[in-house]
C-alpha cells in the first residue's frame, strides 16, 4: 500500500481501508466540520472563524507540503461540494472547502513539471456531517443516481498510474446532485 490518507472521520477511515494503488500517493480529507451550523452571521465569532476555517486551512497547506516532501506522485484533496454551491449557516465551512479546492489548482501548476498530479474530489455534503435541510438544496432536481455513492473508485483512480495526464481538476462524485 503506497497511499497515505490524512484526515479524520468516517470518510477518511473509508478511504484508508479501501483505496489501494502502487503509485506513491497522498489523500487529504479536508477538516470541514458541518456539524457546527451558525444560523446568523452575527453569531459567528472570531474564535469560530479560527476553529472552523483558519486552523483546518493551515493544516491543508501543511498536508500538501508533507505530501510533496514524502515524494507523492499523486495528491488528491477531498472536499464537500458545499464550497462550490455555498451553504446557508456554513459560511466558514464553505470558505474552507473552496480554499482547499482552488489551492489544488495552484499546487498542480507548480508541481506539474515534477510529474506530480494534484486533483480534488468533491463529494456529497453528508460525508462532512452537513445537513442539506439546513444548508439549502444544491440542485432543483433530486440526485440523478440512487443509493449510496462512494468516492472510493474515483479517489483510487486519481491515485493510480493511469490518471497521470489529469491534474488541477475537480471531479464531482455525488451521484449527479451538483451539476
Amino acid at each position: 500500500m503506497s497511499v497515505t490518507v490524512l484526515g479524520h472521520g468516517a470518510l477518511a477511515e473509508l478511504l484508508r481501508s479501501e483505496v489501494q494503488c502502487e503509485t506513491p500517493s497522498t489523500v487529504i480529507v479536508v477538516g470541514v466540520d458541518g456539524a457546527v451550523v451558525v444560523e446568523s452571521l452575527l453569531d459567528l465569532t472570531d474564535e469560530m472563524i479560527d476553529v472552523i476555517y483558519e486552523q483546518p486551512m493551515q493544516q491543508v497547506i501543511i498536508n500538501l507540503q508533507e505530501a510533496h516532501e514524502r515524494g507523492s506522485h499523486r495528491i488528491v484533496v477531498v472536499v464537500p461540494t458545499t464550497g462550490m454551491s455555498g451553504g446557508a449557516g456554513l459560511v466558514a465551512q464553505s470558505a474552507l472547502a473552496e480554499s482547499a479546492r482552488v489551492l489544488v489548482k495552484s499546487a498542480a501548476r507548480q508541481w506539474g513539471q515534477a510529474g506530480i498530479t494534484v486533483n480534488a474530489v468533491a463529494v456529497e455534503p453528508h460525508w462532512f456531517d452537513i445537513d442539506p435541510d439546513v444548508s439549502g438544496p444544491v440542485s432543483i432536481a433530486p440526485r440523478s443516481l440512487v443509493g449510496q455513492v462512494s468516492p472510493v473508485g474515483v479517489v483510487s483512480w486519481l491515485c493510480s498510474q493511469t490518471s497521470g495526464d489529469i491534474t488541477g481538476q475537480t471531479i464531482v462524485c455525488d451521484g449527479g446532485l451538483w451539476m
Binding site: L41, G83, G86
Partner: protein, 263 residues
C-alpha cells in the same frame, strides 16, 4: 453627475485609498452615493476624499484596519452615526501576495496576511454591515437595497502558479458570497463578487518588475488591455450596487477584458 442612481445611498469601500477600491469609490460617488473611503492610512484615504469632493461628490475617510474586527465594527458604527444608514459594503482591501514555492511557503510569511485581509475581513465586513444592509432592503422600492460586494480575482478560480496561496484566499471570498447569498436572500440583500484585472498599483508594480508580464496579459486578453479602475471596474460595482441588479446574487462577475473565459 449626470446619473444619480445611488442618490441617498451610503457606501463603505475598504482599501479605497488606491487602486481598484479607489476606482470603485469614485464611481459610486459619481452615481450620487455618499462614500466612506475606508483606508488603512489617512495619507492615502484623504486625497481620494478630496478628489471626490472636488468633483462634486460626497465622501469621508475613516481609517480602518480590515484585519481587526473591532476596527471594521467601528468603521460601520461611525458611518451609521454620521449618515444614518449603510446600504452598500464593498470589501476590496487586501494585503500580501509575495511570490513563493508552495512546498517552501511559511504560514506567517506567505499566508496569514492574505487570510486575514481576504477571508477574515470579508466575514468582518459582512458581519458588521449585516443589520444595516437588511434595514436598507426593508425600505420602499427605489429607496434602498442592501448590497455586499467582495473583490476577488480570477486566480480565485483558476489557481496561481506564482503566488499559490493567493488563490485560496480569493476562492474563499467566492464561497462566502454564495453562502451569504443563500442566507440573506430572504431579506432582499444581494451578495456578489467582482474579479477584476485592472491597472492597480500592485499590478503596475508587477509590470515594472516584469515588463513581459504586461504584454503577456494584454496578448491573452481579447480586449487587449487591462481595466481602468474607475470606468471598467467601478462601473461593474455600480451595477451591482444599484437597483438594476436586484435579482443578481451569489455571482462572480469577472471583469478582465475576456482574459479568463473559464466560468
Amino acid at each position: 453627475m449626470s446619473e444619480l442612481r445611488l442618490k441617498n445611498r451610503v457606501a463603505i469601500v475598504t482599501g479605497a485609498g488606491q487602486g481598484v477600491g479607489e476606482g470603485i469609490a469614485r464611481r459610486l460617488a459619481q452615481a450620487g452615493a455618499t462614500v466612506v473611503v475606508a483606508a488603512r492610512r489617512a495619507e492615502t484615504g484623504e486625497p481620494v476624499v478630496e478628489s471626490i469632493r472636488s468633483a462634486g461628490g460626497l465622501a469621508v475617510c475613516i481609517v480602518t484596519d480590515v484585519s481587526v474586527s473591532r476596527s471594521v465594527d467601528e468603521c460601520v458604527e461611525q458611518t451609521v452615526q454620521q449618515f444614518g444608514r449603510l446600504d452598500i459594503m464593498v470589501h476590496n482591501a487586501f494585503m500580501g501576495g509575495i511570490p513563493h514555492k508552495l512546498e517552501q511557503a511559511q504560514i506567517d510569511k506567505h499566508w496569514t496576511s492574505m487570510s486575514r485581509t481576504g477571508v477574515w475581513a470579508s466575514l468582518f465586513c459582512a458581519r458588521a454591515a449585516m443589520p444595516y444592509l437588511i434595514s436598507s432592503s426593508a425600505r420602499p422600492a427605489g429607496q434602498g437595497g442592501g448590497r455586499l460586494i467582495l473583490i476577488t480575482s480570477p486566480s480565485g478560480i483558476e489557481g496561481s502558479a506564482n503566488i499559490p496561496l493567493y488563490s485560496p484566499a480569493k476562492a474563499a471570498q467566492r464561497a462566502i458570497t454564495k453562502s451569504l447569498a443563500r442566507e440573506w436572500g430572504q431579506h432582499g440583500v444581494t451578495v456578489n463578487c467582482i474579479g477584476p484585472v485592472a491597472g492597480s498599483p500592485a499590478l503596475l508594480r508587477a509590470f515594472g518588475r516584469n515588463p513581459a508580464l504586461q504584454s503577456a496579459i494584454e496578448a491573452r486578453t481579447p480586449l487587449g488591455r487591462v481595466g481602468d479602475i474607475t470606468q471598467d471596474i467601478g462601473s461593474v460595482a455600480l451595477f451591482l450596487s444599484s437597483d438594476d441588479s436586484s435579482f443578481v446574487t451569489g455571482q462572480t462577475i469577472i471583469c478582465d477584458g475576456g482574459s479568463f473565459l473559464g466560468l
